[in-house]
Symmetry: C2
Subunit: 223 residues, 2 copies
DNA sequence: GTCTATAGGCGGATAGAC
DNA sequence: GTCTATCCGCCTATAGAC
């Protein structure tokens, strides 16, 4: 049954019972193969159907273990969901908006900004897993506010910060409010992804992505 | 049970069984008091908990009718949800981004744009019903793609069009691509609402709304 | 640790009286 | 049209064997 309690006891609930281990290293340390399979199966099911519409039976089947095994690794459905989303927030999707290399400052600002915008759109659009992830984070943000906050902290903030660093360090751009400009830049791109891809706007309200990117870059440069 | 069929037979399923009546007039014509109560109760429950986590028992209780009465007015759970969301899309929330009066063209563009931005933020932020509505629309956009498209068509498009009309008719703004600029304008504001309010970013990544609005308006004006 | 089997309850949907 | 009562399946979670 859906407890509807708003997960008041969420902190630290979820991770497998094993000791906290190192504070989140590479690909999560000391997790058994079964636990990993359960997490993978859970990711598949929860990202496809959302929290309430996913059953532990289907998770167990997707992970190719028995349901009892799932419950031996995770306290309950909420615990599994929390562990799984936190894993995605801190791991695989954390670097989705992250540049491997900061652009060289002497380059053309137009080229740099266009590249940044396209990178955000590429990762946002071409990874269906990330689209499902955003859909679930938003859809479950009422029942799981902590997960929504973790998403904002780790993922949105990452892109803001990075863009901000470029804005403030660029000698050619003279922005009055780099922080707010970064929000506008990222926000209009993410909103574009939400409307076109998640809400299927591509089919009813088409818009070429290059038009959006070019217009956005022009707005920022001519400030 | 969640049929998981992706509602393949969704078209036209939902509206009360009574004849189609007039094609969607004012506040929905010829709907019995019970049907209205069921819709209201359904809105309350579905907007609070999403589709899968809402039970027909709770809807019936919220509407103060028996569950059988619910099923006498609507084919099934999907039908009720469809009817209810379509009602919200076409009715109450349709005009949420709509201006009552188009701004006078001789006014200061800065004042006009600032007013438009604030109106969008006000309606988006101050109506918790609309926040829940967006959360549900996005969260259920996988299972109910038609409803997501209806949302885009009726609500997003409305704001784009209106802004576009102002952009193209203004004698003072000379925008290269008014349509793309309208998307950026609305998109960055809606994304701000999503992150700050729906994803609870206000508590972890604060940002004064006036800074965003001022920066956004400046970007558009100085183009 | 992992499984099968099952408890116990709530879910969507309907039968049938009025 | 509206109700009460009920069917039956699936759900979360656990007991107990191995």
């Amino acid at each position: 049954m859906e407890t509807d309690t708003g997960q008041t006891t969420q902190p630290a609930a979820g991770q497998p019972v094993e000791p906290p281990a190192q504070p989140l290293a590479n690909d999560s340390p000391s997790i058994s193969a079964k636990a990993k399979a359960i997490l993978e199966g859970g990711i598949q099911e929860f990202l496809s159907h959302g929290y309430a519409a996913t059953s532990m039976d289907k998770v167990a089947k997707a992970a190719k273990v028995s349901k009892a095994t799932v419950y031996s690794h995770f306290q309950d459905k909420e615990g599994l969901f929390n562990a799984l989303i936190q894993r995605l927030v801190a791991g695989r999707f954390r670097s989705i908006f992250q540049d491997s290399d900061l652009p060289a400052m002497q380059d053309d600002p137009r080229a740099i900004l266009t590249g940044l915008a396209n990178r955000i759109l590429d990762t946002g659009i071409e990874d269906p897993r990330f689209l499902s992830f955003m859909r679930v984070i938003i859809g479950e943000s009422g029942r799981f506010p902590q997960l929504a906050k973790a998403f904002v902290t780790h993922i949105e903030q990452t892109s803001f910060r990075q863009l901000c660093r470029y804005f403030t360090s660029s000698t050619q751009l003279k922005l009055k409010d780099p922080e707010a400009t970064a929000r506008i830049f990222v926000g209009s791109l993410v909103h574009f992804v939400i409307v076109q891809e998640i809400l299927h706007g591509r089919e009813v309200l088409p818009m070429e992505r290059d038009r959006l990117v070019n217009t956005l870059v022009n707005l920022v440069i001519q400030e």
